[in-house]
């Protein structure tokens, strides 16, 4: 099976000379929940931001190696970055609604893609809110400010906002960092359903969360991928000593 994402010997250096990723190779397959975990500042967020080229915003960063998406090099000249970001969509650690209503937020990505069909927009709004387990809570106030929602609701709105684009891949960068346990479990529960339609790459809030939601996982340390495995094995009997030390809480 062709991997959805194939990262091949990737190196990434920030403009200040810090090498955030090195010798990084990883294949991610369709409809799996892949968890990338490791200590803070190990390069997880950098990798997610590379996948939809938000790293373009950094001047003078240096990228070596390849990232293939459905077999296509995402850094090729012919790639339309806006299209790429619609197909590989990102949810950030902090809920970040855009100024405007809930409805405005959900339809923003579609509108900037040139979609004006009201019926289609409405359908996408309802469907994505249902997938993010938010529909029942907001269906009567779609035209109120997104900032009136609670933090947990805002983060589910941000997930729904990505889903509204029907991307191939959803990147979740520690999406439950600011959420209470109830909101966290609502987000985690929705992932199981989402993977039927989407490929999910997630940086978890904790190793416990990683173990709860992962199909496969990779342990990253200082910009290098230490070990990749099926969740059941990786979290119970890792092959690498560093992975074992991290999971059992000896460092990190």
């Amino acid at each position: 099976m062709l991997p959805k994402i194939s990262i091949q010997d990737l190196y990434f250096t920030y403009d200040d000379g810090v090498e955030a990723l090195r010798h990084f190779s990883l294949d991610i397959y369709a409809n799996e929940i892949f968890i990338l975990f490791g200590p803070s500042r190990s390069g997880k967020t950098t990798l997610l931001r590379l996948l939809n080229r938000l790293t373009d915003l950094i001047d003078k960063a240096e990228i070596r190696g390849k990232i293939l998406f459905n077999g296509q090099d995402i850094f090729a000249r012919s790639v339309n970055v806006a299209d790429l970001r619609r197909r590989i969509s990102m949810v950030f650690a902090l809920p970040t609604p855009l100024p405007g209503t809930i409805y405005d937020n959900l339809t923003y990505g579609l509108r900037v893609a040139g979609i004006r069909d009201k019926a289609y927009l409405n359908e996408r709004v309802e469907r994505s809110l249902q997938q993010a387990a938010l529909w029942e809570e907001v269906k009567d106030r779609l035209h109120q400010s997104a900032f009136a929602l609670s933090g947990g609701q805002q983060q589910r709105l941000c997930i729904a906002r990505s889903l509204a684009l029907e991307p191939d891949i959803i990147l979740l960068d520690n999406p439950t960092s600011g959420l209470d346990p109830l909101s966290t479990s609502m987000v985690e529960d929705s992932l199981e359903e989402l993977k039927e339609q989407y490929t999910i790459i997630m940086v978890p809030h904790s190793t416990q969360q990683a173990a709860r939601v992962a199909d496969r996982a990779g342990f990253i340390l200082d910009g290098e991928l230490i070990e990749v495995g099926v969740a059941g094995e990786l979290f119970t009997s890792p092959k690498n000593q560093q992975t074992d030390d991290y999971i059992t809480g000896r460092f990190g």
Binding site: N52, A82, S89, F92, P99, A146
Partner: protein, 281 residues
């Protein structure tokens, strides 16, 4: 002196200085209002001046200042806001950007009478616009650029970066991000800057001296290629160039000019506070 006494003395002096700042503005406004209010009536605001401008109204000067202010806005807003967007959103730290910034700083430092000469040379003579509303608007427009560029750039830079990143991550292009997210949020600041810049331009005399202003016109201008009367220049004329001008007309004119400029400043403040209140984050 004990420490407490020094403390008291220092506070006293600083407070005194602060009060000193208030005194001249209150005095200026008070004097102009007291001396000028008597001249203000419907005829003064709406009639043509007659009898060597000693009788009648100042309507052509009021109208001229309004039109020049609008013309200035038309000239400088697109350029200034465009430049501000470039500097805030696109400019990298390179030689071009440094030159542009240097130019803006220097534009702000040029005395207004030099702008007048520049307008005379370029717009009036070289481009052949003559002494006209067009030449005056262009001159005032260029003079106002630096103020509006810097306030607009500040307003744009103040928009939190997370909104740009989110917009881009949802597949918006850079321009769509600017248009849909950055500019709407920067708008209160931009409008404030524009109005404040215009209120300064509205009170300027020197740039109009050679480019647009007429000593006296028996009729209103019909096209933008004709000269116009304008409040600041009119005030200068009736205060220094016409003998036996009644004081009340001088102060009345000053009062109208002051009210015009102050109402622009007030409008800027209102816009800013109202739109700030509507902001959600």
């Amino acid at each position: 002196m004990s420490r407490q006494q020094v403390q008291k003395l220092a506070v006293g002096i600083i407070t005194g200085v602060a009060v000193l700042v208030v005194v001249p503005i209150v005095l200026v406004i008070l004097m102009i209002v007291v001396m000028g209010i008597g001249a203000i009536n419907w005829e003064f605001l709406t009639a043509m001046p007659t009898d060597g401008m000693k009788v009648g109204g100042i309507m052509p000067a009021i109208l001229g200042t309004i039109i020049l202010t609008l013309g200035t806005a038309l000239v400088c807003m697109p350029v200034a806001i465009g430049a501000a967007i470039y500097l805030a959103e696109y400019a990298r730290d390179n030689r071009l950007t440094r030159w542009v910034r240097l130019a803006i700083v220097n534009l702000a430092g040029i005395p207004s009478v030099v702008y007048g000469l520049f307008g005379l040379g370029v717009f009036v003579l070289f481009l052949g616009f003559g002494t006209s509303i067009l030449a005056g608007s262009l001159t005032l427009g260029i003079m106002t650029l630096p103020v509006i560029i810097s306030t607009s750039e500040e307003a744009i830079v103040a928009v939190p970066n997370r909104f740009r990143v989110v917009s881009l991550s949802l597949g918006a292009t850079r321009w769509q991000t600017i248009w849909h997210q950055v500019l709407p949020q920067a708008l209160p600041g931009i409008i404030t800057g524009v109005i404040l810049g215009l209120s300064r331009a509205a009170g300027e005399t020197a740039p109009l001296l050679f480019t647009a202003a007429a000593f006296y016109l028996p009729e209103l201008p019909r096209t933008i290629l004709e000269p116009t009367m304008a409040l600041p220049y009119h005030l200068y004329v009736i205060s220094t160039q016409v003998p036996d001008m009644p004081l009340s007309i001088q102060y009345g004119t000053a009062l109208v000019l002051l009210l015009f400029v102050l109402s622009l400043t007030l409008a800027a403040t209102l816009v800013r506070t109202r739109m700030r209140r509507r902001r959600e984050w």
